[in-house]
C-alpha cells in the first residue's frame, strides 16, 4: 500500500510528473520508494532533469559536489525534505 504523501510532497510529485512527462498519477508515487532503479525506474538523465526543475521552480541549487546527494535523490520524501530545507 502506498504511504501517505504530505502536501509538499504532492507538489514535488506533480513537478516530477510534468517535467519528466511521466504517464503517472502524482499521488500514486510512494514517498518512501526509491526514485531510481527498482522504484520509479528513473535514470541518470531524469535525475538531471529533476535537479534542473527544482532549481527553476524553487530557486535552489542542487550541485554535483553536494555531499548529501546520495540521500537527497533517494526518494520523493528525501527530495521534498531537502528542497523545503534549502528554500527556507
Amino acid at each position: 500500500m502506498t504511504k501517505q504523501q504530505t502536501a509538499f510532497e504532492y507538489e514535488i510529485a506533480q513537478l516530477l510528473v510534468s517535467s519528466l512527462n511521466l504517464a503517472l498519477d502524482p499521488s500514486a508515487i510512494d514517498p518512501e520508494a526509491p526514485l531510481f532503479r527498482e522504484g520509479l525506474g528513473l535514470d541518470s538523465i531524469d535525475m538531471l532533469e529533476i535537479a534542473l526543475a527544482m532549481s527553476q521552480h524553487y530557486g535552489i541549487q542542487l550541485r554535483s559536489d553536494d555531499p548529501e546527494n546520495a540521500t537527497i535523490f533517494a526518494s520523493l520524501r528525501s527530495l521534498s525534505t531537502a528542497v523545503a530545507a534549502r528554500r527556507a
Binding site: F36, R37, G41, D43, M47, S64
Partner: protein, 335 residues
C-alpha cells in the same frame, strides 16, 4: 573507437597494450605503420563478423559488394587511427596534424559563455579529436561515455595521468557536473550512434534502410539545454600523400525548448544527426568504424569487456561516483 576489436578480444590485456604503446613511441610512426600491416591482416582474417558487417556497410553505401582489397584497406585505416591515438595522446612529434573546420559557430557560442554539446559517431577518430585537444585548448571537451567500456584502453594507450577522463552516461552526479560545465561555457562530447543491450532505441532511415539509434544521447542533449553540434575527426589523405585529421563541426540545432515541444526537438535532432552522419559516410567511407551489421538490430555489438565481474550480456556498470552507485535502468520511452 577501438571497441570493435579490443573488446571482443578480451585476452588483450592492459599490460600488453602498455608495452605496445612504449614500443611504437620508441620506434616512431613510419616503422610502426609497416608493422601494422601484418597485424591488420591477422585481424582481417580472424574477424569474420567484422568483415561481413563492413561489407554490409559498403553494400548500403554503393549498392555493390566491396572487394577484399577495399575491406583490408579499411581495416588498415582503422588500425592507423588507433596507432595515432598513441602519438596524439603522447603529443609525440610523429602525430599527424589536425585541421579544424566549422569551428567558428562553436567559438561564437563559447564567446557568449554558452557551452555546447558535441555529438560524435563511430566515424573517424573521436579519440583523435580528444587527443588533439591536449595541445589545442579551444578543443578541450569533457567526454561522456556509456560506461567504463573504453577506459581500459584509454588507460593503456594514453599517459596514465590524463586530464580529460570521461564521465559515465549512467552517473547522475556526473551529468550534473556536465551541466555545470556547460553553464560555465565548456564543451561536452558524446557518441550518438552506438546502442548497448537493453537500451531504448529509435528506428531511423540511414543510408536507405532502417537502423536502430540510441535515444539516450539525444534525450541528454535536450536535458542539458545547450546548442548541439555534430563533430567528427576524419582521417584523410592530403594531395602529397601525407595523412592528417580533419576535425569537422556542423551545427545541428539551438538549445532544446522546455515543455511539450521537447520531444519533437529530440526527434528532430535525431534526424539531423543521422543526415550529417550519412553525409560524412559518403565523404569518407573508409572512416566508418562500426564493424558489425549496423542495420541488423540483433547483430552482436561490441559490449563491455567480458570479465568475470562483468559477464557478457550483463548491464553495463555505470558509475564513476562512489557515492552514487547506480546503473541506468531501461529508460521509459518518451518519444
Amino acid at each position: 573507437m577501438a571497441r570493435a576489436w579490443f573488446e571482443r578480444r578480451e585476452q588483450v590485456s592492459t599490460g600488453v597494450l602498455r608495452r605496445a604503446r612504449g614500443l611504437v613511441l620508441w620506434m616512431g610512426r613510419r616503422p610502426a605503420l609497416i608493422f601494422l600491416w601484418p597485424i591488420t591482416l591477422y585481424f582481417y582474417v580472424v574477424s569474420r563478423d567484422a568483415r561481413r558487417g563492413l561489407a554490409r556497410f559498403y553494400e548500403r553505401l554503393s549498392g555493390t559488394k566491396p572487394s577484399s582489397a577495399r575491406l583490408v584497406r579499411h581495416f588498415y585505416v582503422f588500425a592507423q587511427t588507433i596507432l595515432d591515438r598513441v602519438y596524439l595522446l603522447a603529443q609525440h612529434p610523429d602525430a599527424p596534424r589536425c585541421e579544424i573546420r566549422g569551428f567558428e559557430q562553436v567559438t561564437e557560442c563559447l564567446r557568449r559563455g554558452q557551452g555546447c554539446v558535441l555529438l560524435g559517431a563511430h566515424i573517424g577518430s573521436f579519440e583523435a579529436a580528444r587527443a588533439a585537444a591536449l595541445s589545442r585548448p579551444e578543443l578541450r571537451m569533457q567526454v561522456i561515455m556509456h560506461t567504463e567500456i573504453s577506459r581500459n584502453l584509454d588507460a593503456a594507450l594514453g599517459p596514465s595521468d590524463r586530464p580529460d577522463a570521461a564521465v559515465a552516461l549512467g552517473s547522475p552526479l556526473g551529468l550534473l557536473r556536465i551541466k555545470e560545465l556547460l553553464d560555465k561555457g565548456g564543451l561536452v562530447g558524446m557518441m550518438g550512434d552506438r546502442v548497448l543491450a537493453a537500451e531504448t532505441t529509435r528506428s531511423v532511415s540511414f543510408l536507405g534502410a532502417h537502423a536502430e539509434f540510441p535515444v539516450r544521447p539525444f534525450r541528454l542533449a535536450a536535458a542539458l539545454q545547450a546548442p548541439v553540434f555534430f563533430f567528427a575527426a576524419l582521417y584523410k589523405a592530403a594531395g602529397d600523400g601525407s595523412r592528417y585529421y580533419e576535425v569537422v563541426f556542423e551545427e545541428l540545432g539551438p538549445a532544446a525548448p522546455s515543455g511539450r515541444e521537447r520531444s519533437f526537438w529530440v526527434q528532430d535532432l535525431g534526424e539531423r544527426y543521422t543526415a550529417a552522419l550519412q553525409n560524412y559516410c559518403r565523404i569518407a567511407p573508409d572512416n566508418w568504424f562500426n564493424f558489425y551489421d549496423f542495420w541488423d538490430a540483433s547483430a552482436s555489438r561490441p559490449g563491455p569487456l567480458s570479465r568475470p565481474d562483468n559477464p557478457p550480456g550483463a548491464r553495463p556498470r555505470a558509475s564513476l561516483d562512489p557515492t552514487f552507485l547506480t546503473t541506468d535502468p531501461p529508460a521509459h520511452d518518451k518519444l
